[in-house]
């Protein structure tokens, strides 16, 4: 462990030296040099995301939820492979499932949420991050590192449910946080109702496909939240489902929020565009998938557990 730590430190120092050299030599060649970091910001955000994960791990390490044994290794692999295959299949080329009002069907998101809830934060993190990576690789469109980290965060936060021995205690706190986040996002939408759905607005003419973000997509965060609250109280007796849905909800907000906010810097969006154009269309529908598909998976898995006697 010491040797590995040493080699990591050496690698980091080498990278730092490299950057310093670039700045110094560049400054010699061109005294007015101003460095342009936009290209590297993606990786900076990946680093930030990993740092968040590491900090959370350090804080919650004692509870044993992060331990990786044989079961976790296999579940990680299954989760990542399932998420990759399902994202690939539902990316729009294999099935032409009709999409409703700018919301594309992405049911695969239920996988990191469920696996994180059922098997712990490490499994959730791996499923989301590696599954997203392989899913992007299979689709062929190229990898987006900060979205992989964002998906990993979804799985990790969903796994935080394992930290609370008493599930009901965690639930109300989560619900309050999620309500606050949904409210903020919707307020920003209400202030920018004319915000186009990530499209370039060409004043002299109507650009093909330029539509303002539809009301449904904009409010989908609230719709999803209402649905999750309903599920929670309908299944009030079954704490498992309620916990799964609420933790998945929170994970969804945090993960997608991280990726969308990182795009403020990486792609140069304004905060309003990032929230309304990226966060809401992605996070809102994900909530709906969470509220519907995750309970089904939890119930099915509970039946499997009963049968297998574990």
């Amino acid at each position: 462990m010491n040797r590995r730590l040493l080699s990591m430190i050496v690698a980091l120092v080498a990278v730092l030296v490299f950057f310093l050299l670039v700045v110094w030599i560049g400054g010699l060649i061109n005294p007015n040099l101003k460095l342009d970091q936009t290209g590297l910001l993606r990786f900076a955000f990946v680093g930030l995301g990993l740092l968040i994960v590491f900090v959370v791990y350090l804080i919650t390490r004692g509870s044993g939820a992060w331990d990786v044994g044989t079961r976790q290794v296999v579940y990680m692999a299954i989760g990542a492979a399932l998420y990759a295959v399902l994202s690939y299949l539902f990316n729009g080329t294999v099935f032409l499932v009709p999409s409703v009002s700018q919301v594309a069907l992405r049911p695969a998101i239920a996988i990191p949420m469920f696996f994180g809830y059922a098997f712990g934060p490490t499994v959730g993190l791996f499923t989301g991050a590696v599954g997203n990576m392989f899913g992007d690789a299979l689709t062929g469109f190229g990898l987006s590192p900060q979205w992989s980290v964002g998906n990993g965060l979804i799985g990790m936060v969903a796994g935080m449910a394992a930290l609370f021995a008493d599930k009901k205690k965690g639930l109300n706190v989560v619900l309050i946080i999620s309500v606050a986040l949904a409210a903020i996002a919707t307020v920003i939408y209400a202030l920018n109702p004319g915000q186009s759905n990530l499209l370039y607005y060409n004043p002299p003419a109507n650009v093909f496909g330029d539509q303002n973000i539809s009301l449904f997509a904009g409010l989908s965060a609230v719709v999803g939240l209402v649905l999750a609250v309903i599920v929670r109280f309908v299944f009030g007796k079954n704490v498992d489902i309620a916990a799964a849905v609420t933790w998945s909800m929170l994970g969804n907000f945090i993960g997608i929020g991280f990726a969308a906010i990182s795009d403020i810097w990486v792609n140069g969006y304004t905060p309003a565009v990032a929230i309304v154009g990226e966060f809401l269309p992605a996070a809102g529908p994900n909530l709906i998938f969470a509220a519907i598909l995750v309970p089904i998976l939890v119930v099915a898995y509970a039946a499997v557990q009963r049968r297998a006697g574990r």
Partner: protein
């Protein structure tokens, strides 16, 4: 039963290299391509990718399905970007119009308009170059990387034992789950379930996807019990893991790694100095201007 990637032993450039070196190079290649939007730089990367493909001795018959699937997606997406002008807006604020095609009809008083501009053409070309080079390098991997070497490759790259093994398992499971999904789809179709005809509001649509997703997931989890038992019976995780194969670096691997790192370092430096942004050649702008 497992379905495998279609790997075969071939005498090609890629397969003569240590898989760890190739993965390092792949990572550097990918990171470099994410830094550029300039078609000139992207063509260099594209040339490297094409060279890798043509020396890989993959036959068209073996790989055509992968190329078709990924190629169609890439072309579809690039075409869509071209049509809508999406995504390029942060790069150019003025467009040089070549042609404007107006549809002969209107939908709700809005006339579909296609603006063919110089910027959009070059943006589409840049995107095509970048995505295609990434996609081709990615397609190469399952065909040229020996599945028996997955685990030791990731371990050799410095990942801890268990994570390396998890990556190994993930790569092995992907084709199997693809097959399971197809089986489930066929079985459900035999029971009258039609995925292309899902109707209803969003919520109803999502509910109707459950008969496809839930069986595959639960089947995978049930099947995992056997795998977990098998691993436990072979004392997985008890001590540091060893592998049957051993990988050794040779000189060509060091050369490849050096090349990859140099490529990444150059790309990072160029990007820091502001090169590599979206570029439209002067002659194209002049041509566009002359057409109006």
């Amino acid at each position: 039963m497992l379905v495998t990637w279609r790997y075969r032993e071939r005498k090609s450039l890629i397969q003569s290299l240590d898989p760890r070196a190739w993965m390092i190079f792949y990572a550097c290649f990918m990171a470099s391509s994410l830094l550029f939007w300039d078609l000139r730089f992207l063509s260099v990367l594209l040339a490297i990718a094409l060279m890798a493909i043509f020396t890989s001795r993959l036959t068209w018959r073996e790989t055509y399905r992968a190329w078709l699937l990924i190629g169609s997606f890439v072309l579809f997406f690039t075409f869509l970007t071209f049509l809508t002008g999406r995504g390029g807006m942060e790069f150019y604020t003025r467009e040089h119009l070549i042609a404007r095609l107006l549809a002969p009809f209107t939908i709700l008083r809005w006339r579909p308009t296609l603006d063919v501009t110089v910027e959009r053409i070059f943006y589409a070309l840049s995107q095509l170059a970048r995505v295609f080079s990434l996609a081709s390098m990615t397609i190469l991997i399952p065909y040229s990387l020996n599945p028996a070497h997955y685990g030791i490759t990731f371990r050799g790259l410095g990942l801890p034992d268990k994570i390396a093994y998890a990556m190994d398992l993930t790569m092995r499971f992907i084709p199997t789950f693809g097959r399971d999904f197809q089986l489930t789809l066929d079985a459900q179709r035999a029971r009258g379930y039609e995925i292309e005809k899902i109707q209803g509001g969003l919520i109803a649509q999502v509910r109707k996807l459950a008969p496809l997703i839930v069986p595959v997931t639960i089947y995978a989890i049930i099947g995992s019990e056997d795998i977990i038992d098998a691993m436990d019976l072979r004392a997985f995780g008890v001590g540091p893991r060893t592998w049957l194969q051993q990988l050794h670096y040779r000189r060509r691997d060091y050369v490849l790694i050096a090349f990859g790192v140099a490529l990444l370092a150059t790309s990072v430096t160029l990007s820091l100095f502001g090169y590599g942004k979206f570029w439209v050649p002067e002659w194209a702008l002049a041509w566009g201007a002359s057409l109006r």
